[in-house]
């Protein structure tokens, strides 16, 4: 099986640990990832906010490159996924002049939904060497991955299940909670800190109340936001994992021993008490 991979800017910088864990997991599952050649940024919130045509054209360039490869795209970043899908819909409406040959016909997969397919779940279960038993987690989806349903194609946007299925397949105990897709405010965090802080602290508080020992995310911005916010908290810190990091643990691939060092909230004590490290 082959897929084209659109990493997005975050995976080269802030979330380079995510990128490494993704590559490790895909290798383990024997799926070949081909990085889109010479990809460029999807424009994120900024292009969308300032110029509508840029918000369609920037992802269109990457869609054109993927179409040249003829492979479906898998996108690990929620924002990139949302922008690619949005651009695809606009391309099909033919309202913008796009300088690259693009039809908008290939599939753009969001990585969690790709892994939550029954076929992939069985494949994960088959390769599981060290089930994450006893680890109580809540899954946090964030906003851009599930909403608006017309663009993302999620039908269960009020209570999304994809991450829950994946993490449960890896053997962890998944707790249901109500803040799965509440926005964490990362996009506004740099310019208006107080707004981000009010949103993030509420999510962390609710995760604690639900009895979670860790939060599982798939969006690089959500991870850095939820993780860095806890930097100044003296106690009751909750580690924030990418789901691929947990899968990697389940496959018993420790890889680089310093891999968890990139987390501000050190997950090592928790993993040690659970006997996972």
């Amino acid at each position: 099986m082959k897929l084209s991979f659109y990493p997005g800017c975050s995976l080269e910088g802030m979330a380079n640990d995510y990128a490494r864990s993704i590559i490790a997991v895909f290798m383990e599952l024997e799926i070949e990832l081909i990085e889109i050649e010479d990809w460029s940024c999807c424009g994120a919130t900024a292009a969308h906010s300032i110029s509508e045509s840029m918000s369609v054209l920037l992802p269109a360039r990457n869609l054109a490159a993927a179409e040249k490869l003829g492979l479906d795209i898998v996108s690990p970043c929620a924002m990139c996924f949302n922008r690619l899908r949005f651009s695809q819909q606009m391309i099909r409406k033919r309202l913008f002049d796009i300088p690259w040959p693009v039809t908008g016909d290939i599939q753009v997969h969001d990585m969690t939904r790709f892994f939550a397919e029954p076929l992939m779940i069985t494949s994960i279960k088959k390769r599981l060497l060290k089930p994450l038993s006893g680890l109580k987690v809540v899954c946090y989806y964030g906003c851009q991955m599930v909403r608006p349903p017309k663009i993302t194609g999620y039908t269960d946007y009020e209570n999304p299940q994809t991450l829950d299925h994946i993490v449960a397949a890896a053997g962890a105990e998944v707790i249901d909670w109500s803040y799965k897709s509440t926005c964490c405010g990362a996009s506004i965090g740099i310019a208006r800190r107080e707004i981000r802080e009010s949103l993030t602290s509420r999510i962390l508080q609710k995760a604690e109340q639900a009895g979670a020992e860790a939060i599982v995310v798939s969006c690089p911005l959500c991870q850095s936001n939820l993780d860095i916010f806890q930097k100044d908290r003296p106690k009751r810190r909750i580690p924030v994992f990418y789901f691929t990091e947990l899968l990697r643990l389940g496959f018993n691939q420790i890889g680089d021993p310093h891999w968890f060092k990139m987390h501000f909230t050190d997950p090592v004590p928790l993993l040690k008490t659970k006997g996972l490290l």
Binding site: N16, E52, M54, P148, L199
Partner: protein
């Protein structure tokens, strides 16, 4: 009995800024324009306030999402472009998702933000407008957005520096940047995309 409502001349004088605006004093021109450009059926809004109740940041907004829809119906352009609403909006799409009439509220607010960015009106939250513009500038010059390049470009803007000095958070931000560097989360250099020329051509 004297009918006050029908007598224009007895209309009480109001303080400046609080003058009564006539409903539809611009006809439905503005409404039609936004509906056409954004492709959103704003006329369908019947003020049920579901968008405002779903919005996670509505208490930071001076014009609430449902009010913004009404303002458009009434053609009150300047009030909207001057508002904090358009800059505070996170584009988290809660409003759009829960609207019973399928009014794409987030897209509409985004369209207003586009209009404000291209107008001469000073945005209420300058820092957000500057952030978005800086992001695009970095994108156009390097094809990809490197966080270090973005942050250094953003903090070297005079308005932002002034604001951070006033808030006294500059030191904190620098320390956070250092911590990110130590953790290996901030890369000083990432390869640029070869797309720069292509992108500069499409930047309008």
């Amino acid at each position: 009995m004297h009918n006050v409502a029908s007598d224009r001349e007895v209309e009480p004088k109001r303080e400046p800024g609080k003058e009564r605006k006539l409903i539809g004093d611009r006809g439905d021109f503005f409404l039609n324009k936004i509906q056409g450009e954004a492709g959103v059926n704003i006329s369908a809004c019947y003020q049920c306030e579901r968008c405002t109740n779903a919005c996670p940041v509505s208490h930071y907004m001076d014009i609430k999402p449902h009010q913004a829809m009404r303002y458009i119906q009434l053609g009150w352009r300047e009030e909207l472009l001057k508002s904090s609403t358009i800059w505070v909006c996170l584009s988290c799409e809660m409003c759009t998702t829960y609207c019973p009439n399928e009014v794409d509220v987030a897209e509409t607010i985004n369209h207003l933000r586009n209009m404000a960015a291209h107008s001469s009106i000073t945005p209420k939250y300058k820092s957000l407008a500057i952030f978005h513009q800086t992001f695009l500038d970095v994108l156009i010059t390097s094809g990809k957005v490197n966080e270090f390049r973005l942050m250094s470009a953003y903090y070297s803007k005079p308005d932002i520096l002034k604001e951070k000095m006033k808030e006294g958070t500059l030191k904190e931000e620098i320390l956070l940047g250092m911590a990110l560097l130590r953790k290996g989360r901030l890369k000083l250099y990432t390869p640029r995309s070869r797309a720069i020329k292509e992108l500069q051509k499409v930047d309008r």
